[in-house]
Symmetry: D2
Subunit: 340 residues, 4 copies
């Protein structure tokens, strides 16, 4: 196991700039596409094979969501953009040191060379730096010079990708991997049994509250997705999203309401392919360089809501793919990550 | 002149964590206090001499606003928190190399050793790392474990300090100083005369759009404040702030409306001491590590609004202190900063 | 039984102008007062015996909420303002014809002669016309000439009383009483068992969606309150109310969320005395003079929410006073109302 | 002149239910159509000649906006729905008594027999009762049983028609006509010169603050439109409308901001044909049956804004059609209305 330490105060080196994109797998690609395009208001920028590449109007990158037709739902590859070539090299070295590296690919649509790896739970990820800058076609050019694309006012019109939450068997191991291999910092955590059991960890490469969360998979499965989250600017936009979901027969699992941890204002839906998609606003920026992670125990965490009706049981139990078989054979082969 | 370069892609070293606090000078301290406490809903945490130390409910620091009775309005000391001791040392070295360093002080209320300096225009600043963590007294304890203080729902109830805008004689010189001495990155800029004249620059140590802006002082004065900005979470909160200002006889100079540059949703008031204070929401995070600053020319910038009624002339001409005499004698003595 | 018919198209005589006020009974008057004054932001205008008279900043009447210390929770007298002396006389005649009239009193604080009666379920009500116009004291004078009182920005700061919902044994009988005795129109209705069983009826004297609802008391009790509702102007104000409730330990039963019937955006809390109080916005005005009441069956009604998490079971079962004994002896003596 | 008096307390007979629809004239019908359909999100329900009939998703009537290709901009026929056949007869009698009646027509699309007349300034109006109820086609059916049409989430997606403001030579005469012929009540008024000069009057047939305003035409013209107003439910929706207008090159004359009189939250645009169209929310309901009209003098009225930047000069001077010639010959022939 590598000895590359996590970042510490005094050396706030941020090697990962942000979540660059997420690939979602869907067994109902046509209906999923309608959900993201017409209901959420995202734009299609490219099509290749069974994959459609999409973007939010505020994403500076060309594409932040890759929708891929597949046998099951779930998450495909999760892409992280490094801040530069040296940072990328540093992260690749750190990843390789964990034994979980896979290798370089030429890069998916719009991106340069990307190094692929799996996290200890088996989620496929990649880091990259080079990327083609998005230039909006005429009909999608904004009147705001600092906005990469027109606000089209179609459906929810999500602004950009925000974060994702992954289910995993061993939260601690995956959290430590993200700290060491990616340089993420831990901002909040749920720990049960007097702190002995790590239930969930919310992490970020920057002052954003979280760009990735690891949450325990109570089915003991591996490599599953809890949710992908897309940003809107105000809480009223989230309420409006609920209205739009209700008018269009989109299943709303929970919200609009407010989490206690993260303070995020959430609305959880299932896109037609079965993946949980959140429309999200609020939360807070973590400014303190010596931030002490906020740790919630059983009682403090409650059901995870700050107000009102508790989250339904499915919020804990459901993930994609919606498996009974705990661990796909393919993921059983992943090398063991020993964070000690 | 120092040779410490600005941060570049591949080496995203963030030495300054965030704006730690701003001291405002007021000739009407009692009325200014009522404005910040009862109208904006901030809390008083400490009093010393003619100074009152205040905070927003979401500020993790003990105090982010120091209100000091003085003969004139204007800005006192502007404090920047470093990410750690090494970062602090690095920044002090960089500042000293510019010839604009002043020296160490023990630290203002709640802070450890702080290194003071002036920017080329003469604004007094300091960098520090050590700081006492805020612990809310019982009556101000929030039911949210991740919120440093209770949301009291008094008046506007601003969440936290956001940024400040400083007037200066030479925007380019001050902007370059901030890049080199503080490690800030330039996110947006207004340049007139085919790019030859730098009118304003919006800068940040992090993914926040800006924590400091330099804007040209059309009176040719030095060391003046354009505005201090306080954050609320939603645009509706800004509208509500306008209602509250109108009910309480607070002068509203402009807004609520939306800027084109920064996309910020603004409401500008003058606090009773004369300083321009903004209630602010919106804007956007700058994720791209290779962000190309957005540059606005005369035509594109217009009056700086994205919609509706132009900003009034005072928005360009008024700053604090509200001087006729261009440059205070004390500021004339500041060493010349030569960014070349 | 009287033969005064309900209003019909072509003769839209509106005799009741609006809900004038509601008296709430509370076994914890001090804590209830803090809830309405400091958390909801209402103003105290008068105190008499164990009663405190309060108002919202937008209420034109002097007082719209009377909080009375009592052994149990529940609703005291419900007051309806007539549009004028002749309308008042007409309504008194109609009420007397039902056999449910009680008689004239001098009038509660701020009101002239009032005629008291009970609805068939036993809720105490009164109609009146004369009323002292509210004149705000200096410190509560608004800068808006058309606003009766300053928007104080304390707590939730509800604007005005909106409506109330009453539990009753026989919804149809009470609904018909309101139509005939008060001239209310039915706007929406829940009917189960192929329309045979009237579960709830939402009624109004005007274009407001409802100022009174009758809902079946599943405990078979009489004279109970389901909720009192207070208005805020925007959905974001309701979200903010939830934040304020959560910070102040106020029990939130449900919401913020959106009903399907009425389309109202709701937040239900229990005030310290136990009464359910709603912070409310949205819904819609009923413009059509020939409006056909919207009738919801079991399936359409569902749990009464348009989105997200269902209302809790308590929303159906809980009312005030929170009785086991079905019907207070005093209410058993009310004459039977036969709407046939 | 007729002797039919305005409604008085005690006899609140409401004969006009609401504003049924407005015909707008446009010299650029194609572009105007795109504005109302794609930018404002209204639906086309019918086309006839150069006219397109449209509706908001919350309008219960089939069509509330008739867009008619014409040589100039301006308002065509303004339609008021009576509460029933008897009310209609009563209003026709009252109108005929003023000498301004024109006569019966069969009724425009979706309406039964309508009686046409002109107000003293020459604006063409009609009253009617019979109307075809709107039934949404399948693709526009809402999941809300009490919503006449699906919320399509296209563009601004205005909910319904709200009110209109008419310019006129003699505000008092037109206001008195509306009181007597239509039974409207006066809710607010601007009077200059110690009350001698009536500048504007805001009137309503119901508890809505205003469904029609008469404002003095400073060009001394006749029959012109100041603006047509369309409703959205929350202030945030108005802000979002401004974003959408700005992205689509729609001219924004003023707002989003808040009026002092009416308290309305406004956004004024010019549709491509030149007519001023308002996206509107807020204001307040007038509950008091003995409401004393709020009267604003020069100083109190100011520029008509509650906060921030004053309304531009065009708000006073511009109306449609945008005439220099004061009075069209056709309108000079209208009989004189003598309200004395």
């Amino acid at each position: 196991m590598a000895t590359i330490p996590a970042a510490k105060p005094g050396e706030l080196i941020q090697d990962i700039a942000h979540l660059g994109g997420v690939e979602l797998l869907t067994p109902k690609p046509d209906r999923s596409l309608l959900y993201f395009k017409d209901v959420l208001g995202m734009e299609v920028v490219h099509t290749e094979g069974t994959s459609v590449y999409m973007r939010g109007y505020g994403d500076y990158a060309t594409s932040t969501l890759k929708l891929t037709g597949a046998k099951t739902s779930g998450v495909g590859c999760i892409s992280w953009r490094a801040v530069g070539p040296e940072a990328l090299a540093r992260r690749v070295a750190a990843i390789e040191a964990t034994g979980l590296g896979i290798g370089w690919i030429d890069g998916d649509f719009g991106r340069g060379p990307s190094y692929r790896f799996r996290d200890p739970d088996g989620h496929l990820m990649e880091v990259y730096y080079a990327e083609t800058r998005y230039r909006a076609p005429d009909h999608l050019r904004s009147t705001l010079k600092n906005l990469p694309q027109k606000y089209t006012a179609r459906g929810v019109n999500v602004r950009r990708i925000d974060h994702l939450a992954l289910l995993c068997k061993d939260v601690a191991a995956n959290r430590m991997f993200a700290e060491r291999a990616l340089g993420f910092r831990l901002h909040e955590q749920v720990r049960f049994e007097n702190g002995a059991k790590e239930i969930g960890s919310w992490m970020s490469p920057s002052q954003m509250h979280h760009q990735m969360a690891y949450v325990v998979d109570i089915k003991g499965a591996r490599g599953r997705l809890h949710h992908l989250s897309l940003w809107v600017d105000n809480r009223e936009d989230v309420l409006r999203a609920a209205d739009i979901f209700a008018e269009n027969g989109v299943f709303i699992e929970a919200g609009p309401s407010r989490h206690n941890n993260s303070q995020g204002f959430y609305l959880y839906s299932y896109e037609p392919g079965g993946n949980r998609v959140e429309v999200y606003s609020g939360s807070y920026l973590v400014f303190a360089p010596d931030w002490e992670p906020v740790i919630w125990n059983e009682e403090e965490r409650g059901t995870g809501v700050y107000w009102g009706t508790p989250l339904p049981e499915s919020f804990i139990s459901y993930g994609t793919p919606d498996v009974d078989a705990a661990v796909p054979a393919e993921l059983e082969k992943i090398p063991v990550f020993d964070p000690s």
